[in-house]
């Protein structure tokens, strides 16, 4: 028996049924030193970032506790991202490793709560990866849009 009792398709339907269509609400938690700097650089390079994305800055991705992510979903977020420094690059040495482990946990946990695991994304964005920031945020928002349809 699999613990992932809720097939993703069904999850998607359930969630869309409950949400009144309005603008997508996407939250992204960014660590200050790499990912937030990468997002700033996307700005300096005038690369497109979805207007539906709301960035919450923390000093390190290790600061984000899983309940905060769940709360975001409870409060109606269509998608939540956690972006961290690449492994080995965390300004505080290993906060991103904690964040990675918690992300693994969340990927397994959210289907139990009826949330499509695709709605949560953990990734690494360095201070130089303006292009990656722009690309993955657009990809994520597009995917959330298609999930909601």
């Amino acid at each position: 028996m699999s613990c992932q009792t809720l097939p993703t398709e069904q999850t998607a339907e359930t969630s869309s049924a409950n949400v009144t269509p309005g603008p997508l609400r996407i939250v992204a938690f960014l660590c200050n030193w790499c990912s937030y700097a990468g997002a700033d650089k996307a700005g300096s390079n005038q690369l497109p970032v979805p207007s539906e994305l709301s960035v919450i800055r923390v000093m390190c991705s290790g600061r984000i506790e899983p309940p905060l992510i769940l709360e975001a979903f409870q409060k109606g977020a269509d998608g939540v991202m956690v972006l961290a420094c690449h492994p080995g690059d965390c300004h505080y040495k290993e906060g991103n490793i904690r964040a990675f482990c918690r992300a693994e946990l969340l990927q397994n946990l959210v289907p139990q709560l009826g949330i499509d695991p695709k709605r949560f994304r953990f990734d690494y964005v360095s201070a130089a990866e303006a292009e990656k920031f722009s690309r993955i945020t657009n990809e994520f928002v597009d995917k959330m849009r298609s999930i909601r349809l």
Binding site: N32, M59, R98
Partner: protein, 645 residues
């Protein structure tokens, strides 16, 4: 927070760059109903000097309890606006910054979407700022004295650099002499510079130069305990008795000549010295020491050989005791070095004329066991010399890394051996070769030894008799080897291992002390106020030792300035002792060892001096007992609610 708090909102147009996309008038309309009753001021260029003065006046007039600034990235101007709040008499942490330039105006093409997003982020900031707590920087006086552990080139250079800047330095050395490893070397690669000529002036300055008044040298000493933190370390040092009174002894060494007892000379890696002796001629400080385990008199037997001959009464002090010192210092520089891996593989052990690099250096030195002549144990010159490089390095069964210094040392040995024994055939057995640097390249091109490649150190066997000894590679090629030098791996010294455990520092995969950052912070550690010099950081040469000695001293000088207190960022983690369940999860997780266990209260405690505010412990506490100041759970939740509303 139920009572609405008056919030001032500064909306910057960034000379029109922001307002090109964001309609500030529309944003004000959208936020007008916010419970915090925001008052707005649109400014052309809020960071401008005149504008800041104007804004300060406005804040003084409005008397808000909280401030939100919507402008560029907080990475650029957060500090500027914190100062603005201070100038206006408002606690600087009562501010929330919203990045509407880099993260809204510049990345959102459609002005309507940009305006809506700016309003949403401002809404979240208004929510969050209500939860801000007043914080203040704490300042603590710091000591400017420095303790340096290890007196090799790196430690000496760090000590002298600090002493020249007027700092009081305690230099702690476990050996009876200073100078570290290279003081045993006669000539230094790559340019065959005279080692003693390079090091003696440095040692002389340390012992007798102008700055020596600022140096407290403790030889025969080891650190036994370190307490405290950056700016205020308390270091306990135990000093073994020398049994020589340094104030009286004139260093004539008559005692060593008349002493009847002998012990192995571990500094030479071969030969013997008297119970009262110096390791070899010319060591500094110019004082002998007595080995308590060899000296007859100290073992309780009758002997007055040295006492009878010593020209200065009182110089020999058989009642000398172990001493304990307490050193107070603001910073610690570790320069405890590296050493050769001690063990020899079975195929090379217990054979005559097998040297390691260090014992071979002594054999080459004028003040070494054979007076600088290259001689075998039987007193004759070798006809062939085989230098085995990578002897255990680049080898997963011993150390997987390259020891970095052996190639240049081996080429030096080849050159010096050819100069000492006419017609000697020299082979270098290598797995890989590396001669980085301009001058080492020259050394490489002038090397005339026969280079033989081998695959694995375990494939090498020694065959034949003493008269015709060979090294055989994997049962095939043989290399003549009357005398053998093994360049064993360079590993952390015993002193480095002790420093690692005394200070509970992180180690790298090879067991050396891990730096704060491998590229940009290689002379600092994750423990604030502890710096690294020389090869406790990994294998290095003398050039590296001098350079990093200067670097570590520079870090200590810039971090500890006389009269400048240590200002502690208030954005740290704090444990609520009433909630802490004592699970100790946070203690394991903190990358800076900033959390300790209070055994009386049975709770975890965060040192604000060591905490760097990452928040890892905040997110990990199962009881939610830890607050990340500036990024508290309430603040993040309020912000989250704001962006989702």
């Amino acid at each position: 927070m139920s009572t609405p708090i008056k919030t001032a909102v500064i909306l910057c147009t960034c000379s029109g760059i922001i307002s090109e996309r964001i309609d500030w008038a529309e944003v004000q309309t959208l936020l007008a109903g916010h419970p915090s009753k925001p008052v707005f001021l649109v400014d052309e260029l809020a960071c401008g000097v005149d504008n800041l003065e104007h804004l300060a006046a406005w804040l003084v007039q409005e008397q808000p309890s909280r401030v939100v600034v919507a402008a560029c990235s907080p990475r650029e101007h957060e500090t500027t606006f914190r100062k603005l709040l201070s100038d206006a008499g408002i606690n600087p942490w009562f501010m929330q910054f919203v990045n509407v330039r880099e993260q809204v105006a510049w990345v959102t093409e459609d002005p309507r979407a940009a305006t809506a997003k700016a309003a949403r982020l401002l809404h979240a900031a208004l929510n969050r700022v209500q939860r801000h707590e007043p914080l203040s920087e704490r300042s603590v006086p710091v000591r400017t004295e420095v303790a340096v552990i290890g007196s090799g080139p790196a430690g000496m250079q760090a000590t002298l650099t600090l002493a020249r800047a007027g700092r009081q330095v305690t230099l702690i050395e476990k050996e009876p002499v200073i100078g570290g490893l290279p003081v045993r070397f006669e000539e230094l690669f790559p340019n065959l510079e005279c080692g003693p000529c390079l090091l003696e002036p440095v040692m002389g300055d340390l012992l007798h130069g102008h700055e020596s008044a600022n140096v407290n040298l403790l030889t025969l000493s080891e650190v036994t305990e370190v307490k405290g933190s950056f700016g205020n370390w308390t270091i306990t040092v135990k000093q073994k008795p020398r049994f020589i009174n340094p104030d009286l002894c004139i260093g004539c060494m008559i005692c060593a000549e008349v002493c009847p007892e002998r012990r192995p000379n571990r500094w030479n890696g071969s030969g013997e010295i008297a119970a009262v002796a110096v390791p070899f001629a010319g060591t500094l400080p110019n004082l002998p020491h007595i080995d308590a385990e060899t000296c007859l008199r100290l073992k309780g037997e009758e002997c007055s050989a040295c006492l009878a001959e010593c020209p200065v009464e009182g110089s020999l002090d058989f009642d000398d005791q172990e001493r304990e010192y307490t050193i107070e210092a603001g910073a610690i520089i570790i320069a405890s070095g590296a050493e050769e891996k001690q063990d020899l593989p079975a195929s090379f052990a217990n054979q005559e004329d097998v040297h390691t690099a260090y014992s071979f250096e002594r054999l080459l030195a004028m003040n070494g066991p054979s007076g600088g002549e290259l001689l075998k144990a039987d007193g004759t010159a070798p006809k062939s010399l085989a230098i085995v490089q990578c002897a255990g390095s680049l080898d997963s069964s011993e150390v997987s890394y390259c020891s970095g210094t052996c190639c240049r040392a081996a080429a030096k040995y080849a050159h010096l051996a050819s100069g000492k024994v006419a017609g000697i055939s020299v082979s270098r057995l290598v797995r890989e070769q590396s001669f980085p640097g301009v001058d080492a390249g020259r050394q490489f091109h002038h090397d005339h030894s026969t280079v033989v490649r081998y695959g694995a150190f375990s494939e090498l066997t020694v065959t034949g008799t003493e008269s015709g000894r060979n090294i055989m590679i994997d049962g095939g090629t043989t290399v003549r080897a009357d005398m053998i030098v093994l360049c064993r791996p360079i590993v952390p010294s015993a002193g480095t291992a002790e420093c690692l455990s005394l200070l509970d520092l992180d180690r790298d995969e090879a067991g050396f002390i891990a730096p704060l950052h491998s590229l940009s912070g290689s002379c600092a550690t994750t423990l604030k106020g502890v710096y690294l010099a020389g090869s406790c950081r990994g294998p290095g040469d003398i050039r590296d030792a001098f350079a990093t000695g200067t670097a570590a001293a520079g870090l200590a000088l810039s971090d500890l300035v006389d009269g400048r207190d240590l200002v502690i960022d208030p954005q740290v983690a704090v444990v609520d002792a009433t909630i802490c369940a004592g699970c100790k999860t946070c203690i394991q997780l903190c990358p800076y060892k900033a959390i300790s266990w209070n055994d009386v209260e049975k709770v975890a405690e965060v040192s604000d001096m060591l905490c760097r505010g990452c928040g890892t412990c905040v997110a990990s506490c199962p009881s939610g007992a830890i607050t990340g100041r500036g990024f508290s759970r309430e603040m993040l939740r309020a912000e989250l609610e704001g962006v989702l509303s």
